[in-house]
Symmetry: C2
Subunit: 256 residues, 2 copies
DNA sequence: AGGAGTACCGTACGCCGTACGGAGTCACTC
DNA sequence: GAGTGACTCCGTACGGCGTACGGTACTCCT
């Protein structure tokens, strides 16, 4: 599967696409387009949602739309820009109720932010595999940043720490979903279920995990495997979030 | 660039490779191998370190070794297994001094763990792009797990929480390195430096980030960009680690 | 009426992982 | 000592990928 990089194209063109800047005047020469950017992006998102980022190819998106592969390039400069547009498009789903992000105290708010990000990545797990070192600065990413900053506004924190906190919480969620989602992805990629894989692997682990070399792992591993493997995948998310919010509480408390 | 999945091969074969189980008796027919698994893995790691996971191809590794591409398949079942072996190989570099992980109090220990993981991912950033939902359970991953569990042993925590804490801390570090590293990766992939990219992007951001729609982002973004963009990339790591350890302190303290 | 710019898309290039089969080499059996 | 079978090395080829290039048909502007 692919890690796709966002923000790989020409910034001017990418920004124009993200913000849907009209190209010329209203009247452009040439045949009436049968296709537009939104339909391409929607098809690409459908595909990535259903089959993962590895299945996302220009040819496949074109086929799903019933057009030739090269037709896409009349509307989108390349795959990199398409990925930018996909990400900004699905980010629109976040925070349908904007008031919720500023409801209650800071702990409620950050919890809302974390849960919204969790739901987002569960719905669009391919977004986990995007390297957003150069984020697509579209309207919906802006909105997300704005709303998440509001969750930590008014606490007396310096601006830098507001940014750092938002990055910390959303980064944590990304990792937590990743841990769960990579197991699901592995099932699709290999065609082997988690149970089958572990059944095939466990005998070798048993041979190798001797209590002399690895006493702590031999003690903890089986217990953790049983309790976390069988249980709610949200458990490690909830555990981590509680620790994180407690830690943030120390910072927020001492500024008061 | 590619997200590679670990643990995609036949578990029996993968475990045999990871633990370097000799294949038959000592005397095998056929010509003396000019190549072996270790040399292949070393070449692959060198390549991924230098040029990233996207540059890692079977053909390229073979070329670097001066052999035909298909020769690799005499020693390694496929690229998936090679990636497993690469990861376990570089994990051997972690914790050269095992005593350090159990030195001092829990906070010192977890800080050591976090810093070791930071250094590891900085040295081998391609490891950030591996989906380890089915981890390669080789000797060095086992050792890592063992040592990191020891850092949180003896605190009176249940086994499950020991595992959860280790996952939380290492997951945080992975995210923190990722944030920094993805910018560096983007430079290599696009050939455009961070400064050039921002210079080209900033005018469009200025147009679009109006203080009416995005008041908080308009206030915080520039400050954060200036202080974090110019400064030490470790800053967000240190900030997050402090919050995380404070939060863990709440848990550890209340169990005492 | 004609030029220009556009949408659609067939073909092709250079990558990728790897299946297949052949040639050469060695340890073993008889 | 000849034969057998397993093994290493690897050339070729297949079906995928992103996308450069150029052709054709269409529509607007002058």
């Amino acid at each position: 599967m692919a890690t796709e990089f966002t923000g790989t194209g020409d910034p001017a063109r990418s920004m124009a696409l993200l913000w849907r800047v009209p190209l010329n005047g209203a009247a452009r020469p040439g045949p009436r387009p049968t296709l537009d950017v939104d339909r391409i992006v929607a098809a690409a998102v459908r595909l990535a949602d259903a089959e993962g980022l590895a299945a996302l190819s220009m040819r496949r998106v074109a086929t799903d739309l019933g057009v030739g592969a090269m037709t896409l390039y009349s509307h989108v400069p390349g795959k990199g820009e398409l990925v930018d547009l996909m990400l900004d498009a699905v980010l629109a789903e976040l925070y349908p109720d904007e008031a919720l992000v500023v409801a209650g105290d800071w702990r409620n708010r950050l919890s809302t932010v974390a849960r919204a990000n969790w739901d987002f990545f569960v719905r669009h797990p391919w977004a986990l595999h995007l390297a957003t070192g150069r984020p697509p600065l579209g309207p919906h990413l802006m909105r997300k940043y704005e709303l998440e900053l509001r969750a930590v506004d008014g606490l007396g924190l310096p601006e830098v720490e507001m940014d750092l906190l938002v990055t910390l919480v959303t980064g944590f969620v990304r990792g937590a979903v990743g841990g769960v989602q990579e197991k699901a992805d592995a099932e699709r990629v290999t065609g082997i279920t988690e149970d089958q894989w572990w059944a095939a692997t466990e005998p070798y682990v048993a041979q190798v995990l001797d209590a002399e070399r690895f006493p702590t792992a031999a003690r903890v591993g089986p217990v953790a495997g049983e309790e976390l493997g069988a249980g709610d995948p949200r458990r490690s998310f909830e555990f981590g979030l509680d620790r994180l919010l407690d830690g943030i509480g120390v910072l927020v408390g001492q500024k008061r």
